[in-house]
């Protein structure tokens, strides 16, 4: 039978040709890297075909089909794990292979063309990783791709066209998914196979380069003397990959929700350096990070064999090449490390966990947890004091109640916070658990239902449609999260106009510090009047220090840590953590108008907003860990009239609003001299008397506030 087959196909001579390739003496384990890449690519092709059997590339079904693979298909979880982790393994193996080739000087004559094909293969592998990311159509996929598409828009001159080409239309949707799917399963595999064949053909044509220094001795056939090394290495890598697939689940977030603008995407580790690089080139410099630097690195890779044409292969004799690669890889490593340090993991990390982690990493005193301060906490355990206070504010604001409606004696010395005397407190606990259960059971944990959803300033929600309202004047509440609207300017146009209205980009960009003083009226006159000091230092320090009759009221953020102090409160001062810390950082960053574009991600212009009968452009953008900010710009003057920042809490978003009025000229730059600061627990108004730009500020102003009253946290035990 074999003879019959050989007679007709000549397979024996083909096998002999393939397997008996003579290898130079001294070929060691370093030469297994190419085989590892080839093996991993084969695993990706196989698992990709198997996944494609069950996958449906449409926004209506993609997510469900991936869940089906994970939950219902026999070994589906393992197959997806092999494919998902295999992508990372390939990137690592390809880079190791490339470094081996560079270190051994294997790209030199006559193997220049094979090096170029190898670089093309690396780019194809990265394109696979990019296009595959969108396919599960979960939150991570959707928002990471949104960032990618926005990066594509930074291509000079043709950015908008490239973005639309990638999207297949004006928005990220069905056409985008099908386009990326087609690229991932048809176009890229075809290119990959063609270039892999070319790579192997060229490798065979010129033979492998062998050791740097020729090792005397006869050559050996590839099979089995080197094949055994390849096979052992491949088996070890496969065992490791299989372990990953078996032990860890390939991540699958909740289904993509284009209206959930609070999601913070984080790219896969192999794109993190590019993502981080972008932060260092904001605004009009963005193309440097998205095009110029990556373009130069790729160009350097392509041109390497032509730039280094001397025959020397010893690394010591090629210090420029070895040094350049070392610098590039160290930079990529540092940027990746920095990216992971500064970009929160999406959704996996609760604000509380993040707060503890951040505080610990920064060597700071840990956040003050609610159990550290209050007794008899039952439904809202495990959160920080600032978030706890936020949740109290949400409940009070949703029902139109005050503290003493549930805590008898609040505001006096007679209050017993831990008392369960009030039936409302017991009801509130049940309601917190009920709302959490509703969101968990129906909305994958997203806070679609909160106290405000039903109560709307009422103790008892209205249960029946009010016909007068239905047939009367429309009273639609504005959305908190807005989607991109049609017929309104781009966010960057509105922000440019704002900067222009303030005095121009040159002047506004030159602001490094702001110092102001004035009069404050606290808590809508209940807190009495006093003086205040305001300090801000770019990029992210800010302090608002109010000197009130009853003591100091301070909000400070020093770039890492923040504090909140307020007189006559159950907790007079506490360090910020979680959502409030993120919010304080946002406040500090947004104090400098030129920083808005690079501070907020996913910028979008919502529908025209109406405030007090006047129309405003509404621009919204995202901060860290679910925080987001709405900015309202006067349509005529272009000036900022209001900001509302939203930070997450256990029972809903905590809004903090600042209204800006009375813009006056300070050294050629307009500055709002009246601020009205509104949050769930009160409203302060600040009238600036004096404002200075670019004056030195004592760093201690941004640190922990010094209280004139007892500074220690007074526990409610």
């Amino acid at each position: 039978m074999r003879d019959w087959l050989d007679n007709r196909t000549g397979f024996r001579s083909l096998l002999k040709h393939l397997l008996d390739e003579p290898l130079p003496s001294g070929v060691g384990w370093w030469f297994v890297t190419g085989s590892i890449v080839l093996f991993l690519l084969s695993v990706q092709l196989l698992t990709g075909v198997l996944l494609a059997v069950f996958y449906s590339p449409s926004p209506d079904h993609a997510y469900d089909s991936v869940r089906f693979i994970m939950e219902r298909v026999t070994f589906g979880r393992v197959l997806r794990g092999l494919h998902f982790f295999g992508a990372s393994f390939i990137v690592i193996a390809s880079l190791v292979h490339m470094l081996r080739v560079v270190a051994f000087g294997s790209y030199k004559k006559p193997r220049e063309l094979n090096w170029i094909v190898g670089v093309l293969l690396l780019l194809i592998i990265l394109a696979f990783a990019l296009t595959g990311y969108l396919l599960p159509w979960d939150q991570k996929a959707y928002w990471a791709t949104t960032v990618t598409l926005n990066i594509a828009r930074s291509v000079p001159f043709a950015g908008e066209f490239v973005s639309r080409l990638l999207k297949g239309g004006t928005d990220l949707g069905a056409l985008t998914l099908m386009r990326w799917y087609a690229a991932h399963v048809f176009l890229l595999p075809a290119c990959l196979i063609a270039f892999t064949v070319a790579h192997i053909y060229l490798m065979r044509r010129h033979g492998i380069s062998g050791p740097i220094k020729e090792v005397p001795g006869p050559s050996t056939p590839f099979y089995p003397y080197h094949a055994i090394k390849d096979t052992i290495a491949v088996a070890a890598v496969f065992a490791l990959l299989l372990t990953f697939a078996l032990v860890f689940n390939a991540p699958l977030d909740t289904v993509a929700d284009p209206t959930d603008a609070t999601y913070i995407p984080r790219p896969e580790w192999y794109f993190m350096s590019l993502f981080e690089l972008l932060k260092h080139f904001p605004g009009r410099w963005e193309p440097v990070a998205t095009m110029v630097i990556p373009g130069l690195v790729v160009a350097l890779l392509f041109l390497l064999p032509f730039l280094d044409r001397r025959p020397d292969r010893q690394p010591a004799k090629r210090p420029v090449v070895i040094g350049s690669f070392a610098v590039i890889f160290v930079c990529i490593g540092l940027l990746t490390y920095q990216g992971f340090r500064t970009t929160p993991a999406p959704s996996a990390q609760s604000p509380q966990a993040a707060a503890r982690q951040t505080a610990g990493a920064a060597g700071l005193r840990g956040p003050v947890m609610v159990e550290d301060v209050f007794k008899n906490v039952q439904a809202l355990k495990g959160i920080t004091v600032d978030e706890f206070m936020g949740t109290m504010g949400i409940m009070a604001a949703s029902l139109g109640l005050c503290c003493n409606d549930c805590h008898p004696g609040a505001g006096t010395d007679k209050v017993v916070w831990e008392s369960d005397e009030s039936p409302r407190k017991l009801t509130a606990r049940q309601m917190v658990l009920m709302v959490q259960a509703i969101n968990r059971d129906n909305f994958s944990g997203r806070q679609e239902v909160t106290c405000w959803t039903c109560h709307r300033l009422r103790l008892t929600p209205v249960q029946t449609p009010i016909l007068d309202r239905f047939y009367g004047e429309a009273q639609a509440d504005p959305d908190d999260v807005v989607s991109k609207a049609e017929g309104v300017p781009q966010p960057t146009q509105i922000l440019d106009k704002y900067v222009q209205a303030l005095g121009g980009a040159e002047k506004v960009s030159a602001i490094t510090t702001i110092a102001g003083t004035g009069k404050v009226m606290a808590f809508g006159n209940f807190g009495g009047g006093g003086n205040f000091e305001y300090f801000a230092e770019a990029p992210d320090k800010r302090a608002m220090l109010s000197h009130l009759p009853d003591g100091e009221s301070s909000r400070t953020f020093d770039g890492r840590a923040g504090w909140f102090a307020i007189p006559l409160a159950v907790v007079p001062k506490y360090p910020l953590a979680g959502g409030e810390l993120d919010g304080a950082r946002l406040d500090a960053q947004l104090s400098f108008p030129a920083q808005i574009v690079r501070t907020l991600t996913g910028l979008r212009t919502g529908p025209i907003a109406e405030l007090n009968g006047k129309e405003y452009y509404l621009v919204q953008g995202n901060g860290a860990r679910g925080a987001f900010v709405s900015l309202f710009f006067d349509r005529e003057t272009g000036l900022l009239a209001r900001t509302i920042r939203y930070t997450p809490s256990q029972i809903g978003k905590v809004p903090t609003q600042v209204d800006y009025e009375n813009y006056r000229d300070v050294g050629g730059i307009k500055f709002p001299f009246k601020w009205t600061f509104t949050w769930l627990d009160g409203r302060d108004s600040f009238d600036f008397m004096d404002v200075k730009f670019n004056t030195p500020i004592d760093p201690s102003k941004f640190g922990e506030p010094v209280l004139t009253r007892p500074a220690t946290i007074r526990t409610a035990r």
Binding site: P22, P24, S25, V43, L46, T47, L50, V53, F54, S56, H61, D64, S65, R67, F68, R72, V73, T74, F75, G76, V78, L79, L82, G207, G217, P218, S219, T220, P221, Y223, P224, Y225, A227, I228, T231, I232, V234, A235, F238, L242
Partner: protein, 159 residues
């Protein structure tokens, strides 16, 4: 390229070859099991459910009555509504027989001819008697029987 190729003793060569072959077989085997399991998982026969079809009161004695069943079922990752036509025949006080209305020839739906007292297929002239047996035409097999159960007054079929 060195011209001289080293030759080794055949025992070592065989040993290395068998190790290589063994490892590659293990890897291929694992991948084959994973892939085969995935492909075969969707071919597993699904569990039929008991679906309410009608009540005994609605069925005339010995007269095949067409009933359209509406069933929810999982089609991969989707839940779909399936409609299937069957004929129910009340053969006793609490006995009901059921036939799939699909002609066993090429899949057209048969109809009950009350005058001729036979099932007729409109496509290629297949004819079945009231028990579903082939009387005439090209059908290769009788109409498929559907299992039924009577629960009180309700007639349930396994579909």
């Amino acid at each position: 390229m060195p011209a001289q190729i080293s030759t080794d003793d055949p025992t070592r060569r065989r040993f290395l070859s068998s190790i290589t072959g063994g490892l590659l077989s293990v890897i291929s085997g694992v991948l084959a099991v994973l892939g085969g399991g995935a492909i075969l998982s969707s071919t597993a026969r699904r569990q039929d459910d008991w679906v309410p079809a009608t009540t005994l009161l609605d069925l005339p004695e010995h007269e095949p009555t067409p009933v359209t069943l509406t069933m929810r079922r999982l089609d991969g990752f989707r839940e779909v509504i399936d409609r299937r036509t069957i004929f129910l025949v009340k053969t006793g006080e609490s006995d009901v027989a059921a036939f799939n209305a699909t002609c066993t020839h090429l899949g057209c739906l048969v109809a009950w001819d009350t005058q001729a007292q036979v099932f007729k297929c409109p496509c290629h002239g297949g004819v079945y008697d009231r028990n579903g047996a082939v009387k005439d035409g090209p059908p290769p097999a009788p109409l498929a029987k559907v299992t039924t159960r009577v629960d009180g007054n309700r007639v349930l079929v396994q579909a």
